[in-house]
C-alpha cells in the first residue's frame, strides 16, 4: 500500500477546486484567530464563552472522524447492519446521559479546563498524572492520520506517508496558531461538509444500485452465497455475545471523553452544553447509519463490478467517488478530509493541553499564561509526531480505537464520576489506586495479548488462550473496569482521610 502509485479515483478539476477552497478556508480561519487571542483561556478554552450553535458543530465533528466513517463502514461491509445496532446505537444512550450530566459538571467545576483537572483536584498528583497519560494516549491521532493518508493516496496515487504528512501539517497549522476558537470555527464548516456529503452519498448510492433489490443482488454476488440475511440482522456476523458487549462498552468512553469535557468547560452556560449535546444525538445517529450503509452498498457495488475489489477502508471513498456527480465528488472528498481534520485538530489541542495545562501543574504549578500556551503548542507538536509515526505502523482502525477507549475508560471514568457526584469527598487513595491500576492493567492486557496471544486473521483480532478459554483483546474492558470499580469502592471505604478531609468533616460536624 505504501508504495502504490495507481490513482484509484480520478477527480475533475472542479472537484480539485472545491478541495483547494476548503483547505484555504481552514487555514484562513486559523490565522484569523491566532491574531486575536491574548490569554491561555482564550487559546485553550475559547474564552469559556462558546454558545450552543458553535458547540453542536464541534461536538459532532470532533467525536466522529474518519475512524467512525471507516470503522463503521468496515463492519457494515463485512457484517451488515449490526454495525449500526450493535456498535453505534449504544453510543446514543451515553450521549443522552452526558447531555443530562454535563450542566452539573459545568456548575461543579466552573474553573476547570480538562477532565484531568477533576482528578488532580480530588485525588492529587499521582492520580492526575495517570489520568493525563491516559488522555494523551487517547488523543493520539493515528487513525485520522491514517485515514487522510488513504484519502490522498486514492485521489493522487501518492504513497500513504505523503498523505499522512499533508493532513497533519494542515490540521497542525490552524490548531497550533488558532487554538480552540480556530478549532471550533473550522469544526462547524467541517461538520456541515461531512454530514451533507455522507447524507447525499448514501441516498445517491442507494438509488444507483437499484434500491433494496440491487443491494441484495450485489451482496449475493459479493459473498457468493444465496442466503445473505445476516447482512440485515442486527446482532449477526462474526461478533460473539461477549465481543458485542465489549464493543458496546467502549461507548462508555463518551462519559470520559476529553474533548467533550473541554467543551463542557468552554461552554458559555450549563444550558448551552446540554442543548448542544442533545441536538447532536440525531446527527450522530444519522452519520452512523450512513456510514453503515456506505459499507453495505460498497460490498454490493464490488459484487456487481461497479467498483473494484479493494481493502474495506477504501470502500466509502470508492462509493462516494463512483456515485456522486462532478463538484459534489470534490465536496465528498473535502467531507472525508473534514471528518478527519475536525477530529485531528481537536485531539492535537487536547494532547497539547495535557502537557501545557495538566502535566505542567506538576513541574511548574505557577506557570504564566504564556508558558502554558508555549507548552501546549509544544505538546501539539509532540502529539502530531507520535500520531504520524503510529499511523505508519498500525493498519487496523478498530483495533487502535478499542485500545485507546479501553485505556481512557479504565483509567478515568470511575474516579471522575465518583469524584464529582459522591456526596462525601472521596479518599485520595481510592482515586490514586483506581487510575494507576486502570492505566497499568489496560496497557499490560494489550501488551500480553500481543506477546502471548496469536493473531486471528479471519476475526481480525489478537486472542490469548487461558486453558480452554479464548480471550479476545477486546475483552480487556470487561475485566478491568469491574476490578477498578471494586478497588475504588473498597479503598474509599477503608482508606485514610486526608488532613483536609478531617478538617472538613470536623467543620461540618
Amino acid at each position: 500500500m505504501n508504495g502504490a502509485s495507481e490513482v484509484i479515483i480520478k477527480l475533475h478539476w472542479v472537484d480539485w477546486l472545491v478541495i483547494a477552497a476548503y483547505i484555504g478556508g481552514m487555514l484562513w480561519l486559523g490565522f484569523y484567530f491566532s491574531r486575536r487571542e491574548r490569554t491561555f483561556d482564550d487559546y485553550f478554552m475559547a474564552g469559556r464563552n462558546v454558545p450552543a450553535p458553535l458547540l453542536v458543530g464541534t461536538l459532532v465533528s470532533t467525536f466522529y472522524g474518519l475512524d467512525t466513517l471507516l470503522g463503521t463502514s468496515e463492519i457494515g461491509y463485512f457484517e451488515g447492519v449490526s454495525a449500526f445496532f450493535a456498535y453505534a446505537l449504544p453510543y446514543a444512550i451515553f450521549y443522552i446521559i452526558l447531555a443530562l450530566l454535563s450542566p452539573r459538571f459545568k456548575a461543579r467545576w466552573p474553573h476547570s479546563s480538562t477532565m484531568q483537572d477533576i482528578v488532580f483536584a480530588q485525588y492529587g498528583k499521582v492520580a492526575g498524572v495517570a489520568s493525563s497519560i491516559a488522555a494523551f494516549v487517547y488523543s493520539t491521532n493515528s487513525m485520522e492520520m491514517m485515514g487522510i493518508g488513504f484519502l490522498v493516496h486514492l485521489i493522487t496515487g501518492w504513497p500513504l506517508w505523503i498523505g499522512v504528512l499533508i493532513g497533519a501539517v494542515i490540521a497542525l497549522i490552524y490548531t497550533y496558531f488558532g487554538g480552540l476558537w480556530a478549532d471550533i470555527m473550522t469544526d462547524f464548516v467541517q461538520f456541515c461538509v461531512m454530514m451533507v456529503t455522507v447524507g447525499v452519498g448514501v441516498i445517491l448510492a442507494w438509488h444507483a444500485l437499484g434500491g433494496y433489490d440491487g443491494l441484495v443482488q450485489g451482496l449475493k454476488a459479493f459473498t457468493g452465497e444465496q442466503d445473505i440475511s445476516y447482512y440485515f440482522s442486527p446482532g449477526a456476523g462474526y461478533l460473539t455475545t461477549w465481543t458485542l458487549i465489549s464493543y458496546s462498552l467502549t461507548a462508555l468512553v463518551v462519559l470520559a471523553e476529553p474533548a467533550f469535557f473541554q467543551r463542557i468547560f468552554a461552554s458559555a452556560t450549563p444550558r448551552d452544553i446540554k442543548v448542544a449535546l442533545a441536538a447532536g444525538v440525531p446527527m450522530w445517529l444519522s452519520f452512523d447509519w450512513a456510514a453503515t450503509f456506505l459499507g453495505l452498498l460498497g460490498a454490493a457495488a464490488v459484487g456487481l463490478g461497479m467498483i473494484p475489489d479493494m481493502v474495506p477502508n477504501e470502500v466509502p471513498y470508492a462509493v462516494l467517488g463512483q456515485f456522486l456527480p462532478v463538484g459534489i465528488v470534490g465536496l465528498g472528498f473535502a467531507g472525508a478530509l473534514a471528518a478527519a481534520m475536525s477530529t485531528a485538530d481537536s485531539y492535537f489541542l487536547i494532547a497539547g493541553g495535557v502537557i501545557g495545562h495538566d502535566l505542567q501543574k506538576v513541574w511548574k504549578p505557577h506557570a504564566t499564561d504564556r508558558q502554558k500556551e508555549r507548552w501546549t503548542k509544544n505538546g501539539i507538536l509532540i502529539s502530531a509526531a507520535l500520531s504520524i509515526s503510529l499511523a505508519l505502523v498500525f493498519d487496523k482502525i478498530m483495533g487502535v480505537w478499542v485500545f485507546q477507549a479501553t485505556v481512557m475508560i479504565c483509567t478515568s471514568l470511575i474516579p471522575v464520576y465518583f469524584g464529582t457526584f459522591s456526596r462525601r469527598p472521596p479518599k485520595k487513595i481510592s482515586g490514586t489506586l483506581a487510575t494507576v491500576l486502570g492505566l497499568g492493567l489496560s496497557v499490560l492486557w494489550y501488551a500480553a495479548t500481543l506477546i502471548f496471544g496469536y493473531n486471528d486473521e479471519e476475526l481480525g483480532t489478537q486472542i490469548i488462550k487461558v486453558g480452554n478459554v479464548e480471550l479476545w483483546q477486546e475483552y480487556g474492558i470487561l475485566m478491568i473496569v469491574p476490578l477498578v470499580f471494586v478497588v475504588y469502592v473498597v479503598s474509599n471505604l477503608f482508606g485514610r482521610k486526608t488532613h483536609e478531609q478531617q478538617v472538613s468533616g470536623e467543620v461540618r460536624a
Binding site: D41, H111, S113, W181, G199, A279, A290, D369
Partner: protein, 62 residues
Amino acid sequence: MGWGIFTHIFGAIAIVSPLCVIPWYWMAARHKFLTFKAQTDAPATDSTSPGRSSGSNGSGYL
C-alpha cells in the same frame, strides 16, 4: 423496503440538520467576530503576569 425508508430518513437528517443550524451559527459567529474586532481595537494588556493565569482556584491544581 424498510431499510430504504430508514436510509432516506437518516440521509435526510444528515443533510438537513447542519443546514438548519447554519443561521444560528452565523449569528453566533458574527457576534464573535465583532467581539474580537472590538478587542483588537482596544489597547492590549499584559498576558504574561502570573495574576492573569486563568482557571486557577488557588490550589495549584485547577
